[in-house]
C-alpha cells in the first residue's frame, strides 16, 4: 500500500519536473510586484512601464545608456523659428501588432485622447502623466496633414517637451485596439514595439512574444515573461536556482551574495533620483542662510551611505544626479565638518543650538530605503552640533499633504526623475512657482535669479546653451542651500551569467530587445 503511494508521488514529481525545465530562448524576469495596467498613458507605476517599454514605442526615444534624445517612430523633426511649431516626419514602414498601420493619424489619436475634450477616449483626471508633466500648458494643438507628418503646436517655447515625448505616456497605441477593447484596453495592449502581448494572469505573469513583423532589428528572445515574486529573498532564491533568469530592485544585503556567485552577474547604474533634506525657509531659523549652511556641514553622508545603502549610492552635492546631462561637476561639495557647523551656528546667533523637528517618511522609497533609521542618524549628527531635532512621522499620504502645505521645519523627501531633463528636477522642486501651496518645492525657496534662469532654459532649444544655464542654476542653489542634498541611489539588477546585453537605463526603463543567451 505504502509503496503504491510513493510510486504515485514519484510519477507526479516526474510529470511536474518535466514541465519546469528551463526552456530555450525564454527569459523570465522576476520583480517585486505586478503591473497595474498596460496602457502607457494611464499608468503611473514602474512595474507597468517596465512591460510597456517592450510593447510600445514613441516618436523619439533615449540613447542606450543616457538621456540624450534620438529618433524612433519619427525619422526626423524640425522646429520653427519661433520654437512653437514642431514638425515630425514619421516612419512609414511600421505596423501595430494587430496589423493596423502606424501613421500620423494613429499618433494624433494616441496623444489627442489625453487632452482633446472632443476625443471619444478623453476623460479628465485619468491621464496622470499628461497632467503631472503639465502638457496642457505646453501643447496647443496637434495636426496630421498627411500619413507621415505630425505637427505639434506649442503654447510657448518649451525645450523639455521633446524629452517628454520619449516618455511612456506619449507612446503610440493602436487606435483599432483602443476602440475595440475600451475600458479593458489596459489588459489588451497593442503597440508597435519589438515584443507583442500574449497573456496576462494578474499577480502571476505577463507573457510577451517576439514581434516577428518588427520594423527594426527583431528581438532575440522568443518569449519574455514578467513574474511578480513579492519577497526579496525568495526572488533571489529563484534566480540562484535558475527558475528565473533576471531580477531587479535587489535588497542591498543580497548584493554581496550575488557578487560571490559565479553563476550570477550584478548590474548597477547611478539612478535618476535624489534623496534630500529640505529646510523650510518660511520658518525661522531656516530663513537664515548660515543655519542652512551649518546643516550642510553637519551631516555625514558617507556614513549614511555606508550604513543604509551598502555603498550602493552616491553622496549628493547637487539637486540633479550625475547621470543627467547638465550636471555641474565643478561644484565643490560642503565637507562634513561639525566644527565648521558649530562656528556657523554661532555666527548665526545660535551658539546654544536650537530645538526643531525632523520629519521623516513612514515608508521606504527608492531613494531612501529606511527613512526612519536615516532620520535617527541625522538626528544624532545634528545633536553633535547643538541642534536638538525631534523626529516626526505621519502616515504617507498625510505626510505628503502636510509637507506640501509647509507644516514642517525640516523634512526628508526625494524625487525620481521622469524625462531625463534637468528641468524635471530643478524647476519642479526648486523654482519659486513650485513654492505655492500645496508645494513641490517644500523648502519654500523663492529665488528670482534662479527663476529667470530656469525659465530661460525652458525656452531655449540650443542644447549647449541649456547646459550652461543649468550649470549656473546649480551654482545658485549651492550658494543658497535650501536643501541638504543627501544621496543619489544606484539602481540594480542581477542576471544569470549567460544572459547577455541587458543595459540598465538612467530612466529605469527596461528594454529586452537586444538581450540574448550566450551558449
Amino acid at each position: 500500500m505504502r509503496r503504491k503511494y510513493i510510486l504515485w508521488l514519484a510519477v507526479i514529481g516526474l510529470l511536474a519536473s518535466g514541465c519546469t525545465t528551463e526552456q530555450e530562448n525564454v527569459l523570465v524576469f522576476g520583480r517585486g510586484g505586478d503591473s497595474v495596467g498596460l496602457d502607457p498613458a494611464l499608468e503611473s507605476d514602474g512595474e507597468s512601464f517596465k512591460v510597456c517599454d517592450n510593447l510600445y514605442e514613441t516618436l523619439v526615444t533615449y540613447a542606450e545608456e543616457s538621456t540624450a534624445i534620438k529618433p524612433q517612430l519619427a525619422r526626423s523633426w524640425t522646429v520653427s523659428q519661433d520654437q512653437l511649431i514642431w514638425t515630425f516626419h514619421l516612419r512609414t514602414d511600421v505596423r501595430f501588432h494587430d496589423g493596423t498601420p502606424f501613421n500620423a493619424a494613429a499618433m494624433l489619436f494616441s496623444l489627442g485622447r489625453q487632452f482633446l475634450k472632443d476625443h471619444p477616449f478623453y476623460k479628465k483626471g485619468i491621464y496622470l502623466y499628461w497632467e503631472s508633466m503639465e502638457m496642457d500648458a505646453v501643447v496647443a494643438a496637434i495636426a496630421a496633414p498627411d500619413d507621415s507628418t505630425l505637427v505639434i503646436h506649442l503654447r510657448q517655447p518649451n525645450a523639455p517637451f521633446l524629452a517628454n515625448l520619449a516618455m511612456n505616456f506619449c507612446a503610440a497605441v493602436s487606435p483599432t485596439a483602443v476602440r475595440k477593447h475600451g475600458d479593458e484596453y489596459p489588459e489588451n495592449p497593442v503597440g508597435t514595439g519589438p515584443f507583442r502581448f500574449a497573456e496576462w494572469r494578474r499577480d502571476e505573469r505577463i507573457v510577451l512574444l517576439r514581434n516577428e513583423a518588427y520594423w527594426g532589428a527583431a528581438a532575440k528572445l522568443d518569449r519574455l515573461i514578467f513574474k511578480p515574486i513579492y519577497d526579496a529573498s525568495v526572488r533571489f532564491l529563484e534566480l540562484r536556482t535558475g527558475a528565473i533568469q533576471g531580477l531587479d530592485n535587489l535588497s542591498p544585503e543580497l548584493i554581496a551574495e550575488i557578487e560571490a556567485d559565479p553563476e550570477l552577474r550584478l548590474q548597477t547604474q547611478p539612478g535618476m533620483n535624489v534623496g534630500y533634506l529640505a529646510m523650510n525657509m518660511d520658518r525661522p531659523p531656516f530663513d537664515n542662510r548660515l543655519v542652512r549652511l551649518a546643516l550642510n556641514h553637519a551631516i555625514d553622508k558617507d556614513a549614511l551611505i555606508k550604513s543604509f545603502y551598502q555603498g550602493r549610492a552616491l553622496p549628493a552635492k547637487n539637486p540633479i544626479p550625475p547621470t543627467l546631462w547638465g550636471y555641474n561637476n565643478a561644484i565643490e561639495a560642503y565637507a562634513y565638518d561639525p566644527q565648521r557647523a558649530r562656528d556657523l551656528l554661532r555666527q548665526a546667533g545660535y551658539a546654544d543650538g536650537f530645538d526643531t523637528e525632523l520629519w521623516a517618511m513612514p515608508v521606504p522609497r527608492p531613494y531612501m530605503p529606511q527613512p526612519q533609521k536615516i532620520a535617527e542618524v541625522i538626528q544624532a549628527d545634528l545633536k553633535k552640533v547643538g541642534i536638538r531635532a525631534k523626529i516626526v512621522s505621519w502616515e504617507w499620504a498625510t505626510y505628503l499633504a502636510k509637507v506640501q502645505n509647509g507644516e514642517h521645519p525640516m523634512a526628508l523627501l526625494g524625487w525620481i526623475g521622469d524625462n531625463g531633463d534637468p528641468d524635471n528636477f530643478l524647476y519642479v522642486l526648486l523654482d519659486k512657482n513650485a513654492a505655492v501651496k500645496p508645494a513641490q518645492n517644500i523648502a519654500f525657496y523663492r529665488s528670482d535669479e534662479l527663476h529667470q534662469i530656469l525659465v530661460e532654459a525652458r525656452r531655449n532649444t540650443v542644447q549647449n546653451e541649456r547646459v550652461a544655464l543649468y550649470h549656473k542654476a546649480q551654482e545658485i542653489v549651492h550658494r543658497d542651500v535650501p536643501w541638504v542634498p543627501l544621496v543619489h541611489t544606484t539602481q540594480t539588477a542581477a542576471f544569470r551569467r549567460h544572459v547577455q546585453d541587458f543595459k540598465l537605463h538612467p530612466t529605469g526603463s527596461k528594454w529586452f530587445h537586444k538581450v540574448y543567451f550566450s551558449p
Binding site: A16, T20, K124, G125, Y230, T241, W396
Partner: protein, 335 residues
C-alpha cells in the same frame, strides 16, 4: 431543518449590510487619501483634485455609500482604484487561488490534526502524547514566514524537489477557464500541467496548514479526553468493546463537535488570512491582493473583498451548524 437554513441565509442580509457599512466607515476613518497615495511625490494640487473627482471621492460620504450600495445590488462592485480592474473580475480570478490553497491546507490540517489529537488522547501521558503535543505547541508558535522560508530552503533549494514560488511554472500554458487550476488543467486534458500545479501546492499547503493543524490537534485531544471520562464510554468498556470501536465510533464522533467549531473558524480565517503564506510563495490569491488594497486605501477593492470573506465566513459556520445536527442527533434545529 430547511426553515433553519433559510432563516440563517436570510440573516445574511442584515449581517452583510452591517459589515459593508462598517468596512466603509472604517476605511474612510483611517487617514490616507488614495489619490495622494497613488500620485506620491508628484501629487500636485491639480492632479490630486482631478483624480479625486475621477474616483468619486469629492462626493459626500453618504452619497458615496449610497452609490456603492446601489451598484452592489446590481452585482457591480466598481473598479479598483489601484489596478483599474473590475472588482468582481479581480475576485473571480484570485479567489480560486486562495480557495485551492486553503482547501488543501484544511484537509491536511483536519486529517493531521484530528489524527494527532486522537493518538495523543488514546495514549495519554505516554511518549506519543508528549510528542504530538510538543509538535502542536511548536506549530502554533512558529512564525509562518520563517517556516515558509525554511521549507523553501530545505525542500526547494538544497533538495530541489519542489518549486520555490507561484501556482505553476512560467512556461506552462493552459486556458484558465475557472481559475481553479487543478480543474482547468484537467478540463484541458493536460496531465503534465495538472501535476505541475499540484506540485506547486505542496509547500504553501504545508506552511498554511501548520497552525490550524496544531489548533485542531489540541482541541481534539482535549475534547476527546473529556468524552472518554463520560459514563457511556465506561459502559462501552464494560460491554467489552474493542479500543478502536470505542475511540472511533463512540468517543471521536462526539468529541469532534467542538473541534468542528474550531475547524469552521480556522477555515474562515485562512480564506482571508493567508496573506503571509501568499506573500512568501508569491501565491496570486485574495489575501495578498487585499493587503495591497488596504495599503493603497483602495476602498472598492477592500469592500468587495471583505464582503466576499464575510459571506463565506457566515456560510462556513452555517455548514458547521448543519454538520453538528448530522453528527449529534441530540442537536436539533426544529422549534
Amino acid at each position: 431543518m430547511h426553515s433553519f437554513i433559510l432563516r440563517r441565509c436570510a440573516q445574511l442580509v442584515p449581517t452583510l449590510l452591517g459589515i459593508s457599512l462598517l468596512t466603509f466607515s472604517m476605511i474612510h476613518l483611517v487617514p490616507g487619501d488614495p489619490a495622494q497615495i497613488m500620485l506620491g511625490e508628484r501629487a500636485d494640487a491639480a492632479s490630486v483634485a482631478a483624480l479625486r473627482t475621477e474616483m468619486g471621492l469629492d462626493q459626500p460620504l453618504y452619497v458615496q455609500f449610497y452609490r456603492f450600495f446601489v451598484d452592489l445590488l446590481h452585482g457591480d462592485l466598481g473598479r479598483s482604484f489601484r489596478t483599474h480592474e473590475k472588482v468582481t473580475t479581480a475576485i473571480a480570478q484570485r479567489f480560486p487561488a486562495t480557495f485551492e490553497l486553503t482547501f488543501f491546507s484544511m484537509v491536511l490540517a483536519i486529517l493531521g490534526g484530528s489524527g494527532a489529537g486522537l493518538i495523543a488522547a488514546a495514549r495519554r501521558g505516554k511518549s506519543a502524547d508528549y510528542a504530538s503535543m510538543i509538535a502542536a505547541t511548536a506549530g502554533i508558535s512558529l512564525p509562518i514566514f520563517w517556516l515558509g522560508l525554511m521549507l523553501i530552503l530545505l525542500l526547494a533549494v538544497y533538495l530541489p524537489i519542489f518549486p520555490i514560488s507561484g501556482r505553476q511554472s512560467p512556461h506552462i500554458y493552459f486556458p484558465p477557464h475557472t481559475h481553479f487550476y487543478l480543474l482547468d488543467t484537467l478540463l484541458d486534458g493536460n496531465l503534465g500541467a495538472f501535476a505541475n500545479v499540484l506540485w506547486h501546492l505542496v509547500l504553501p499547503t504545508l506552511t498554511l496548514a501548520t497552525v490550524p493543524m496544531a489548533v485542531i490537534a489540541r482541541m481534539t485531544r482535549a475534547s476527546l479526553l473529556e468524552v472518554l471520562g463520560e459514563d457511556y464510554i465506561r459502559t462501552a468498556w464494560s460491554k467489552g468493546l474493542g479500543e478502536k470501536t470505542i475511540l472511533l465510533r463512540h468517543a471521536f464522533k462526539n468529541a469532534f463537535i467542538p473541534a468542528l467549531t474550531v475547524i469552521a473558524l480556522q477555515f474562515g480565517y485562512l480564506l482571508g488570512g493567508a496573506i503571509i503564506t501568499e506573500n512568501i510563495f508569491s501565491w496570486p490569491g485574495l489575501g495578498h491582493w487585499l493587503f495591497l488594497a488596504v495599503q493603497a486605501r483602495d476602498f472598492r477593492a477592500v469592500q468587495g473583498g471583505v464582503l466576499l470573506l464575510a459571506t463565506l465566513f457566515v456560510l462556513i459556520n452555517l455548514l458547521a451548524d448543519i454538520l453538528y445536527a448530522w453528527l449529534d442527533p441530540r442537536i436539533s434545529y426544529h422549534k
